[in-house]
């Protein structure tokens, strides 16, 4: 293990480390702590110049209450959910199948198709922007959740296929061969042999894509406008112009917008990290 485990270091080093750890964390999260502190302050604190001190009264309920009951925030959150969940299902389903095809079968062009998926995944969004917007408009899907979902599914398929294919490659191939010898048809092998073994990969991708899509901002402002279809990342700007310079409300709104992926992360941490390292670093 590197660096030297603490247990093998002198007592003084251990105590210094234990004391320094929380301190380092506080410094690291300082901007966030400041915002959390903003969000529970009464408006009066900002008038009086008590910006970063202890709140003069605890106003979390009234501040967060305003976010939920006096703004479009709940609608935006709902939109985000309706965009994120179908995208996760779609992208994971498509990439499961594609990953199976690329991971199990040997055929001409296999590696080429795989590399096209990877390359497409690295492309800058901007080169897709004008044509994708045009396509979405001509399909009558501009400013709809479906338009956004379709694009996200397509784009995320690149990354997901990379991940799935590598995961399937690492599965024991004799299992598939044994099933073939038994005369099991190929799609049944997929459903009954491979799919059950892919549960960890499915979970990892699902949390990861959830976070990516929830946090997307660029496509939200390119393909949608207004509270009918916009997700919360885009909606927060409207929220902020509604409560211009009311920092206690704007920070409460931001925290609400950021929360769902955070909760997802803390619930499914292990899978999330497995996904982030692309399965390459174990």
């Amino acid at each position: 293990m590197f660096p030297t485990p603490l247990e093998k270091r002198p007592r003084s080093a251990q105590i210094t480390y234990q004391a320094f750890l929380p301190l380092a964390l506080i410094i690291w999260l300082l901007p966030l702590i400041a915002v959390a502190n903003f969000s529970i302050k009464p408006e009066a604190d900002f008038v009086n110049g008590n910006y970063w001190g202890i709140p003069s009264s605890f106003e979390a309920f009234s501040n967060y209450g305003k976010v939920f009951f006096e703004s479009n925030m709940p609608r935006y959150l709902w939109n985000s959910l309706l965009i994120t969940v179908p995208t996760v299902i779609g992208a994971v389903a498509l990439s499961c199948m594609a990953g199976f095809a690329l991971g199990v079968y040997k055929f001409k062009g296999n590696l080429l198709i795989f590399f096209i998926f990877i390359a497409g995944n690295f492309v800058p969004f901007q080169i897709l922007m004008v044509p994708v917007r045009d396509l979405t408009v001509s399909l009558n899907l501009y400013d709809t959740k479906l338009g956004l979902v379709l694009f996200h599914v397509a784009f995320q398929t690149g990354f997901c296929t990379l991940f799935m294919r590598n995961f399937i490659r690492a599965l024991p191939f004799p299992l598939i061969e044994a099933a073939r010898v038994e005369g099991v048809s190929e799609w049944r092998i997929f459903v009954f042999v491979v799919l059950p073994l892919m549960k960890p990969a499915l979970a990892a991708l699902a949390v990861l894509i959830f976070t990516f899509i929830w946090n997307d901002y660029f496509w939200a402002i390119v393909l949608t406008q207004g509270p009918d279809a916009q997700p919360v990342t885009a909606g927060i700007t409207e929220f902020n112009s509604q409560f211009r310079a009311a920092y206690h409300l704007m920070s409460a709104g931001s925290i609400v917008a950021a929360l769902p992926p955070v909760i997802m992360f803390f619930l499914m941490q292990k899978h999330f990290i497995a996904g982030l390292t692309l399965g390459a670093v174990k």
Partner: protein, 315 residues
């Protein structure tokens, strides 16, 4: 499974043909939906962007063919000067690329710091990581409030040490660095988690052996640990480069390109040209996107080449 094991003799001729070619056809059937989606929304649009970049187009009416005029104006070929906004964006992109790479050593440093087994370390690791989970829009807002000249915490801290107040996002020379610092926050967290998982896989016997040989500190890190962290470093490099060139959200939220356009990068400038109050100049925007694409292409080819070498090794 009993149904599929039934004898083939009862099957029709067509079914028989499928059965005989099952292994050749199945992969294509499985690939079809993904390929279709990917072609329609990713591959074809790339080609279309190239095509549009040779036109003048407002996004609604007819496209007018202008040849390479957009590129000439952008890059200043012939008797024209290079587009000033493009020049600023390009240099800012370079700043992003170089400074964003700091996330890799910073992430390694934090990972080494946290790679201990004390009580509650798991919670510490997740809390250190969690800036990455927050959307960039919120990171942008958080940092723009952190930088606020009067209300922001940064100036309060600077004031405590006796340094004068600075208005980072209002100062054309500092604004880009301020945004990059905000971007480094989640990116460092990402690199940290890559290295933490990598450190888990470091071979303890090698470390012990090196220790017996008297290696420690920097020497140990450089000669024993880092070579074993190579896969993690590669992924950290890939995601950091891509992240740096994709920077858009933070700029849009924190400064919207200002002050005086000093924080524009290519991705932002492209968006501004094609879809903003300044008008819908899709052709010019597409030309900027193509330039950005070629910058990225250099890296993409390198990444793919590395992955290809690995694939060949695996076979």
């Amino acid at each position: 499974m009993a149904t599929t094991a039934a004898p083939d003799t009862q099957l029709t001729a067509q079914r028989g043909w499928y059965k005989r070619n099952e292994i050749a056809i199945t992969p294509w059937l499985f690939l079809l939906p993904a390929m279709l989606f990917f072609a329609v929304y990713v591959i074809i649009p790339i080609a279309q962007s190239f095509w549009i970049s040779f036109h003048e187009w407002d996004g609604l009416g007819e496209k007018t063919w202008v040849g390479t005029a957009n590129y000439e104006r952008l890059l200043g070929w012939g008797d024209q000067n290079m587009d000033r906004k493009f020049e600023t964006s390009f240099w800012n992109n370079l700043k992003w690329l170089v400074l964003y790479l700091l996330a890799i050593p910073a992430g390694l440093f934090i990972a080494l710091f946290l790679n201990q087994t004390v009580r509650g370390i798991r919670l510490y690791k997740s809390l250190f990581f969690f800036p990455f989970v927050i959307s960039q829009v919120v990171v942008g807002l958080v940092f723009s409030w952190f930088y606020l000249p009067r209300e922001g915490l940064l100036n309060a801290i600077l004031g405590f040490f006796g340094a004068g107040p600075v208005n980072i996002l209002g100062d054309p020379t500092l604004a880009t660095y301020g945004i990059i610092a905000a971007g480094l926050w989640p990116q460092t967290a990402y690199c940290m988690i890559l290295y933490l998982t990598g450190l888990n896989a470091v071979d303890p016997e090698q470390v012990e052996a090196a220790r017996l040989d008297g290696a420690k500190g920097w020497k140990m890190l450089w000669y024993v640990i880092l070579p074993q962290l190579k896969p993690a470093t590669f992924i950290a490099f890939v995601v950091t480069i891509i992240g740096a060139l994709r920077s858009f959200d933070l700029i849009s939220v924190m400064t919207n390109g200002g002050p005086f356009g000093s924080t524009r990068v290519l991705s932002f400038y492209m968006f501004e040209e094609s879809l903003s109050e300044f008008g819908f100049r899709m052709g010019y925007g597409a030309a900027i996107a193509v330039v950005l694409f070629f910058i990225m292409l250099g890296f993409i080819v390198y990444f793919l080449w590395s992955m290809y070498q690995e694939e060949k090794g695996a076979r």
